[in-house]
Structure formats: structure tokens, C-alpha cells
Amino acid sequence: MRAARPWFPAIAFVALAVALAFLVIPVVAVFTNTGPGELVSALGEHGAREALWLSLRTSLAAVAVIVLVGTPAAYLLANRAFRGRALVLTLIELPLVMPPAAAGIALLAAFGPNGILGGAIHDAGIELVFETAGVIVALVFVAAPFYLRAGVAAFAALDASSLEASRTLGAGPGRTFLRVAIPEASGGLAAGLALAWGRALGEFGATLMFAGSFPGVTRTASLEIFATFNTPNGFTAALALSGVLVAVSGALLLTVKLVSGERALEGRGI
């Protein structure tokens, strides 16, 4: 036992160094493999800009849907004890760990032309496959759990007495939700929003399988990276687009750290 002390810290230090190098080197390589001038000019390509613009629009639309529906849903889950609550929490987190290809197949099986709800969706005059709306559906499916999870944790951490005080002062449950709960949980909600947005920006497999890939309609930045990489001399263009996505994702992660401080790291609630 005594002999263990001197060498263990050294091993742990080496392990951390290996982990850090392994995780950071590919990210750095995105920016240093090719000169900055070439990267910037590759972004001037029409296809690259079109894909980035589509990614921005679809991910923002997905995040808007997620926040509108997810906020009250997370509030309910955080404040009500009911039979099967643990099961509901597990179900809404399932897409988090689902492989993207499985998510694509699942969306097709549910909402695709031959899916269990495909006929009803078609009859309602809604087209998803090969349409931008289909991309948004895929993004909502994969990204919503990040927001719901963070939202439940943020609402569950609220001081119950301030919610009660609001109700005793005559505010209804809706007013309490909007005026007290949301402002007080805003840090955790913003962190969840940023994570969901980051996941939506990076979505690849489910989008390709469910919505297809067409420039300007369904080909998001991730799909454009894949399409460009395969072309001769396409590696630089793929690197440039990857650089933009890495930079935006990094900025989102930084936002999470700043708005939620250490709270996001503590993992309370669920």
C-alpha cells in the first residue's frame, strides 16, 4: 500500500495528458492542417454558404419548437410527483443515447411515407421527407432531450418557498410559471438551450436518412461536409466548414459554462 503512493499521481497525470492530447489534437488539426487563407476562401463557395444558412435556419426553428413545448413540459415533470414519472424521464432521455442511424430509421418508421403515422401526416397535407420541415423534425428529435433534461434539473432546483409565496400572493399557476419559475431557472434553461442547439447543428445521420440531401433544402452543413469530403480536392472545403461548426459549437459550450456557472456541472435533480 505504501509503495503505491509515489507512482499513482504520476500515472494519473499521464492519463490526463493522454486524454487531453487525444481530444484536443483533432480539434486543433481542423484549423492548422490547411492555411487560414484557403479555409476562408473555401467558405466563399456557394454550396458551403447555402449549407451553413440552412443549418442556421433549421437549428433555430428546432430550438424554438423545443423551448416552446419543452419548457412547460419540464416544469410539470420537475414539480409533480406521479406514478410513472421515472419512466417518463427515461423515455424523454432515450434519444440522447440512441445511435443517429437508429434515430433515422425510427423517424422513418414513425413519420415516413410507410410509417405508422405516415398516412395521417400525408392526409394532413404535410410533407416531411425531402423537405426542410423533415430536417427540423429530425433535429427536434435528437436535440430536445438535452433541453428537457436541463430544464427538469433547473426547475427541480428552484426554491419551493418562492413559488409558494407567488401563489399565496394571488398569482395563478401560469403567472407563477412565467414570472417566477422561468426567470429563476433561466441559467439552467439557457444551458440546456445551448446544448440542444449544439446537438442540432451537428446532426447528420437522422437528417440524411429521414429527410435526404438536397442543396438548399435538406443539405445542412454536416451533410455538406460529408458530400464535399468525397470530391477530389474537397478536403480543404470540408475542413473549412468543419472549422465553422467547431467554432460555433465551442462558443455554445462556452456560453453554457458562463451562464450556468458551476451549477451545470453539479448534475442535480435527475
Binding site: A3, L108, G112, F130, G212, V217, N230, P232, F235
Partner: protein
């Protein structure tokens, strides 16, 4: 005691990595990067190739070529065209390519559907058409077909294209799942898919020359095995597997 268990752990880790490093003694492993459309024929061939264990990866030919340009070193590269192996050969990455098979382009449609019965139906507004990316061979052949059509017909079909997929497998999947009404794929893809999709032949005047090229990648440990694998594609077990899967002799 601790030191011993540590070095034992290191030994296990090293022996776990070993098979990729040494393969020449007992049973050699041949790695083959092949076009997605070759999957069923090459899987069949691998079972009959006695000289080595064959490890294959199937993907879009252009994607496999991009991997080789970025430093991946399979033993054999088999492409759904001859342009990509030629490019890699000129770049000094492979030996001289050989043409080993041919194929036909067809229109794949869902089995139950009557919506598309001929090329004329593909032009009709509202028909959902899926093609391959321009960079993947199946997409390039499709554009050759479209290029031979009169301008009005070509524009009508192009306007119906709803998705450009990364490889022929995912092009066909869009028809199989009912999302697309028609797709341009290889005749052998439809045969390999079994039910669910059927093929509509293209008029002979539109049919492009589909030729498959194969090359041995440079700088290998055992190029002899790779050359035997390639030789079998031209005369032997590989050739027979290709014919069983519906591939044509090289054009």
C-alpha cells in the same frame, strides 16, 4: 506484485494490437475497399478466396478514394468507375488499374407502385426522383443519361430530383422505404435488394458504359496476395461471383 500485474496488462494490450501488425505467418488478412454496389458479389467472392482472410469495407467509390488520398492503405481498391482508380494511379498511390466488370443503369421503382412505368413517367411533375451525388460514380452515370436526353425532358427530370445521396445503397433505400417514386441505380442493386423494388430498363441509346476498375494499392506488405485477389476478379472465383450477382463482363 503491482509492477508484475502492470507489465502483464501491457503485454495483454500489446498482444491485442498484434494481429494488425503481423499477418504474414499463419493466416494473412487482405483488406479490400470496394464500391457499395459490389457488396453482395465481393462478399460471395471472399468466401471462395482461400489464400487469405478478406476484410472488406464497402462505401461510395469516391469516399474510398478520398480515404486513400488521405493516407488510408487498403490492399485493393475496387471502384464503380475507372476514373477514380486512374486518378489514384496517376497520383502514384496504386499500381496500374484493370477493368474487371460492367453493369447497367436502371430506374428502380417500388414494387407495388404503378406511378412510374417508363422514363416518360419520371419526367412528369410531382414524381419524386432520387439520384447519387455528382461525385459518386452512380451519380455521374445518371448525369450521362440525363445529358443524352433532349433539353426539355432533361430539365423536367432534374426539376423532380428531391435528394442527391452519397452512395447507391442509400439511393435505392429511398425507393425501398417509399419516399421516392423512382431512382437511378445499378441493375445489380435491384437484384440484390430482393423484393420491394423492381427495375425499369433504360433505352439502349441512353445506357452509359458502366465499367468497374480495380487497383492494388502501393507500398504493401504482401502485394502478391492482392494481385491474386485482382486476378481472380478477371478469371476465376471472383469473376464467377460477379456473374452470379448479375454483373456484366468488362465493356
Amino acid at each position: 506484485v503491482r509492477r508484475t500485474s502492470l507489465s502483464a496488462g501491457a503485454a495483454i494490450a500489446i498482444s491485442a494490437l498484434a494481429p494488425t501488425g503481423c499477418g504474414s505467418d499463419s493466416q494473412a488478412t487482405l483488406t479490400v475497399s470496394a464500391a457499395a454496389s459490389l457488396q453482395s458479389a465481393f462478399t460471395d467472392y471472399a468466401d471462395h478466396f482461400g489464400a487469405a482472410e478478406v476484410r472488406q469495407s464497402f462505401a461510395a467509390s469516391d469516399q474510398l478514394a478520398a480515404q486513400i488520398r488521405q493516407g488510408a492503405r487498403p490492399d485493393v481498391f475496387a471502384s464503380a468507375d475507372t476514373a477514380l482508380p486512374d486518378q489514384l494511379h496517376h497520383a502514384g498511390l496504386t499500381g496500374r488499374p484493370r477493368t474487371f466488370a460492367g453493369n447497367r443503369l436502371v430506374i428502380a421503382v417500388p414494387t407495388g407502385s404503378e406511378k412510374v412505368r417508363s422514363l416518360a413517367d419520371v419526367e412528369r411533375p410531382g414524381t419524386a426522383v432520387v439520384v447519387g451525388e455528382p461525385a459518386v460514380p452512380v451519380g455521374a452515370y445518371t448525369r450521362q443519361v440525363l445529358g443524352r436526353l433532349p433539353a426539355a425532358k432533361r430539365r423536367a427530370i432534374v426539376a423532380n430530383i428531391r435528394s442527391q445521396e452519397p452512395d447507391t445503397t442509400s439511393v435505392l433505400a429511398k425507393v425501398a422505404e417509399g419516399a421516392a417514386d423512382a431512382a437511378f441505380v445499378y441493375a445489380t442493386d435491384v437484384e440484390a435488394a430482393g423484393g420491394g423494388v423492381r427495375a425499369i430498363r433504360l433505352p439502349a441509346s441512353l445506357q452509359p458504359t458502366v465499367a468497374y476498375g480495380v487497383a492494388v494499392v502501393r507500398g504493401l506488405e504482401h502485394p502478391g496476395l492482392a494481385r491474386r485477389f485482382v486476378a481472380g476478379l478477371i478469371h476465376g472465383a471472383g469473376e464467377r461471383a460477379l456473374r452470379r450477382a448479375g454483373f456484366l463482363p468488362p465493356p
